[in-house]
């Protein structure tokens, strides 16, 4: 926790600077022929999609760690990763929808990637609901950890959906099997900067949330001790 306290501020600063620089790059990047201005959504959409998946990965790993080592820190990180992941998932869905309107002519289509991403959002909310509605101490952490691990089957589905099924959605741009880079060289630098900024932003959010969770738990202990001393 001490470590988290120390890195919180630097992370925030770097995220802010990165976002500012990234956005500056984005608005100075060349406009795509076919896509026009809407291509700029890419720079939000892709990094937030990656972060949504990454947060779930973090959640899965810390859940396994919690069940295995009974480490409370792992549980705190797991609890913190959920709302952050949900936020990024929501941003991905929203930016994708906004982008979809000019590109595909519809806000929403039921293709494999979109559906599996929606499922991810439901999962995130399910995890939050489960944790808050089990009031037996200890049980909620364990139950959410188990559920998170089972829910991880959705990750490969999201990631490989564009390969496994014929979808509306773009196939992977980096090192795709087809080998045709859909992202041109000029688009790459702002994307990389934005990606780095989003990573810092995500880390910052998780750290803030984790410290809040830890503080809340600490407070409960103090509360109990105070009441015990009052006897």
């Amino acid at each position: 926790m001490n470590f988290l306290a120390r890195i919180q501020r630097p992370l925030g600063v770097v995220a802010l600077l990165g976002l500012a620089y990234g956005l500056w790059l984005v608005f100075n990047a060349p406009i795509d022929f076919q896509q026009g201005n809407s291509v700029r959504i890419l720079y939000v959409h892709v990094p937030s999609a990656k972060m949504a998946l990454f947060c779930y990965l973090l959640l899965t790993i810390s859940s396994i760690f919690y069940l295995w080592k009974k480490s409370e820190t792992a549980d705190i990180i797991a609890e913190a990763a959920v709302p952050v992941g949900a936020a990024f998932t929501a941003v991905t869905l929203a930016s994708g929808s906004i982008w979809g309107k000019p590109m595909w002519g519809t806000w929403w289509a039921w293709d494999a990637r979109l559906t599996s991403m929606l499922v991810l959002l439901i999962l995130y909310f399910g995890l939050m609901a489960l944790r808050s509605s089990l009031d037996e101490p200890g049980k909620s952490a364990k139950a959410t950890a188990i559920l998170a691990i089972i829910g991880a089957v959705d990750l490969p589905i999201i990631h490989f959906s564009v390969v496994w099924w014929r979808t509306l959605h773009q196939p992977p741009s980096f090192g795709g099997a087809s080998g045709t880079p859909t992202i041109t060289g000029a688009l790459l630098p702002p994307l990389l900067v934005m990606a780095l900024a989003f990573i810092c932003l995500g880390a910052y959010m998780v750290v803030v949330k984790a410290r809040e969770v830890a503080a809340r738990r600490q407070l409960e202990v103090l509360d109990l001790e105070r009441m015990e001393n009052n006897d």
């Binding site: 009031d135 037996e136 101490p137 009441m227 015990e228």
Partner: protein, 219 residues
């Protein structure tokens, strides 16, 4: 003046006749303790006095109110502490008491509720869901209702079970105060020692009727 009068009360569950023409009269400030074997019908009798079931046979008057047509008024004047705690596991003690008070249309401030919770020794746990309370803690909370409602008649089904020795002392002093204030108590118990601290009239329930002593019951 007679305040509670039961005459010719019979009750059966399916084919099993549990109470057979039972009579009981009580005056204000009196305490009747029901003794009897397991399954003899003590809880059934208390439940009938609470008007939870409609009576199958017989007549029951409380303070002049007839259960046949004023069930709701009778219920308003009594508190029944049964084997079941009637607590909602997901609510805290304060919320449970508030719900109880609302159902009885009592006006209770939050402070009063908290004081009551503290009075039964649960101050520390006032804001935790009751599902995980220990048996005695639940019992204490159930008894706290009596403090709120100030009823005319108190029906207690084995109130001492699960209470620790301080709890028993507290309960007995509370009940003595209650009796002194003119309240009536009908209690079922298996524990003559603990009841001894109360001025009471023992009654023995056997074969569906009440007897004044164990001897007369056995013959």
């Amino acid at each position: 003046m007679v305040h509670l009068a039961v005459t010719g009360l019979s009750h059966r569950f399916g084919r099993q006749q549990v109470l057979r023409g039972l009579d009981l009269t009580m005056a204000a400030g009196e305490c009747v303790v029901l003794f009897g074997d397991n399954g003899s019908g003590k809880s059934t009798l208390l439940t009938l006095l609470s008007t939870r079931f409609a009576m199958q046979k017989g007549r029951y008057l409380l303070n002049g109110l007839d259960s046949a047509d004023s069930g709701a008024e009778i219920r308003e004047r009594l508190v029944f502490v049964s084997h079941n705690s009637h607590l909602y596991g997901h609510l805290t003690p304060v919320e449970n008491l508030l719900f109880f008070a609302d159902l009885r249309r009592l006006q209770c401030s939050d402070e009063l509720l908290r004081e009551t919770v503290s009075a039964v020794g649960l101050g520390k746990f006032a804001d935790r869901p009751t599902r995980w309370f220990s048996a005695g803690m639940k019992k204490r909370l159930t008894l706290a209702r009596v403090l709120l409602a100030k009823p005319a008649l108190l029906l207690l089904d084995e109130p001492y079970s699960a209470l620790d020795s301080q709890g028993v002392e507290w309960l007995n002093s509370m009940l003595n105060d209650f009796l002194a204030g003119g309240g009536m108590i009908v209690m079922a118990s298996h524990d003559p020692q603990r009841v001894a601290a109360l001025k009471h009239r023992p009654k023995f329930l056997q074969k569906g009727s009440l007897f004044d002593s164990k001897e007369s019951a056995n013959c």
